[in-house]
């Protein structure tokens, strides 16, 4: 299977639907261990992404992802803006001039992960969105084509596991041990991103 520019638009729309409906939930998660702006910022950013994608037409997956990235970077703010912006920009750059088949797409996601680590000066196990992106990508490497159910379940399990991690990056790090027992809000929004990707793949079959 190969993703098209139309699939990217569907992916972002599905992500936006999830984030809009979970806006308050994301905010309440962030209020518990962060500064309480994650839901509001992500909802504003992804809403703008959908407006931008609807207003334009795309020949390539890379171009649609680039507009997604630039919109998130300029509309989200906070820490999530540069992180999600960087992730989608790296994916876009990696797919430039290429078809979004499984191998190319997976390579792109690996570039995204490297970008997240570099921008956030962070690694796995620090209770950040990397704790969803890294295991999802690791799992995808075991497969040779898109597998919606595997994608969704890996993302969901990884998100759940952030509950047990003690935060050492971002604002939650100030809570130390008190951050244990809470989900990481960025990991939850990343789960929505991968769940939406899974649903896009399912719909495309």
């Amino acid at each position: 299977m190969e993703l098209t520019a139309h699939d990217i638009i569907t992916w972002m729309k599905k992500t936006n639907d999830k984030i809009q409906s979970k806006k308050e939930y994301l905010t309440s998660l962030d209020q518990a261990i962060g500064d309480g702006d994650h839901g509001i910022n992500m909802a504003r950013g992804f809403n703008e992404v959908v407006v931008k994608l609807d207003d334009s037409s795309y020949e390539s997956v890379s171009d649609a992802l680039k507009d997604t990235a630039m919109t998130l970077m300029s509309k989200v703010g906070g820490a999530a803006g540069p992180l999600y912006g960087t992730a989608f920009l790296k994916l876009s750059t990696s797919l430039k001039g290429k078809s979004a088949d499984y191998t190319h797409f997976l390579n792109g996601l690996e570039e995204s992960l490297a970008g997240l680590k570099q921008r956030g000066k962070s690694q796995e196990g620090e209770k950040t969105l990397i704790d969803v992106w890294a295991p999802v990508i690791e799992k995808m490497k075991e497969s040779d084509d898109f597998d919606a159910s595997l994608l969704k379940h890996t993302a969901e399990d990884s998100m759940e596991k952030t509950k047990d991690i003690k935060a050492t990056k971002g604002r939650a790090s100030y809570l130390g041990d008190r951050s244990i027992g809470h989900l990481d809000p960025g990991s939850v929004s990343s789960f929505y991103v991968f769940e939406a990707l899974a649903e896009t793949i399912e719909g495309g079959r």
Binding site: D35, M73, G77, G78, A79, K169, G170, Y174, G176
Partner: protein, 331 residues
Amino acid sequence: MKKIVNNPEYVVRDMLEGLIAAHPDALKQIPETTVVARKDAPLQNKVGIVSGGGSGHEPAHAGYIGDGMLDAAVCGEMFTSPTPDQVFEGIKAADGGAGVFLVIKNYTGDVMNFDMAAELAEAEGIEVEKVIVNDDVAVEDSSFTTGRRGIAGTIFVHKIAGAKAAAGGSLQEVKNIAEKVTANVRSMGMALTPCTVPAAGKPSFVLEDDEMEIGIGIHGEPGIERKRVTSADEIAEELTNKVLEDIEFNRGDDVALIVNGMGATPEMELYILNKKINEILLDRGLNIHKTFVGNYMTSLEMSGCSVTLLKLDEEMKPLLDAESSAPAFRI
């Protein structure tokens, strides 16, 4: 939620229009951005000083724009760092050819967005340097955290770095003095009541009627301890002593003090605190060179206060005393 707003989504936009309308001779808004700049920016051959961050901390940072302080302030959404494109616009607005200096409060989002903006500016040939302010002693500074937060001590960095730039200091000289201020300034805050972000609609945390939070952050981040409300003198002691413990203060040292309101605390209460803080500092043999009492770095309508102490030397003193035309920090 009860607030004087129109649409909660547009509070920053509406505020900026009102701010410019209040200071038409001093400030301008860069069109299509959330950047506020000196009316006469950029000043040729002067290092431009740019700060910014989430909104909700007024008068920080746009109130500190003026001769002898900031050239531009980049206003993010409520408690949310401005985005790289906006910060880049702020840098361009302040660039008079001598480089631009960024004063960043130590929050993950602010640091990332300002860093990305600095990369964009450097790609266009603008020389950029920065300081990251981390004055809040309430949180641990260790490799297991993001480090200390930047709070009201940032105002002293604006003032002294701004004065250095106004006096013709080079980008490197401005950076050196800003780093010196950051190394010598410490703060700690507390809250009696939380604040509500307009778009969130409900308070970011809950304090019972008889409770206070010691060590609170300026976005309502948890502090060190939640306990029963004590007297003003005890609060003054707790905050001031924690600040004094953090760096070496010797008898005879000159210090500058900010007794800062978090937004909803009456000046009367700040002066009551200042009475005790003065006693403590004089007891320690410190020379209080200058005191600032008022709302300098707020957290919307949170009630509470913070105490900031800057240990001065002969280089910093005249720069602190130098003239400033900034609406919120006129000297």
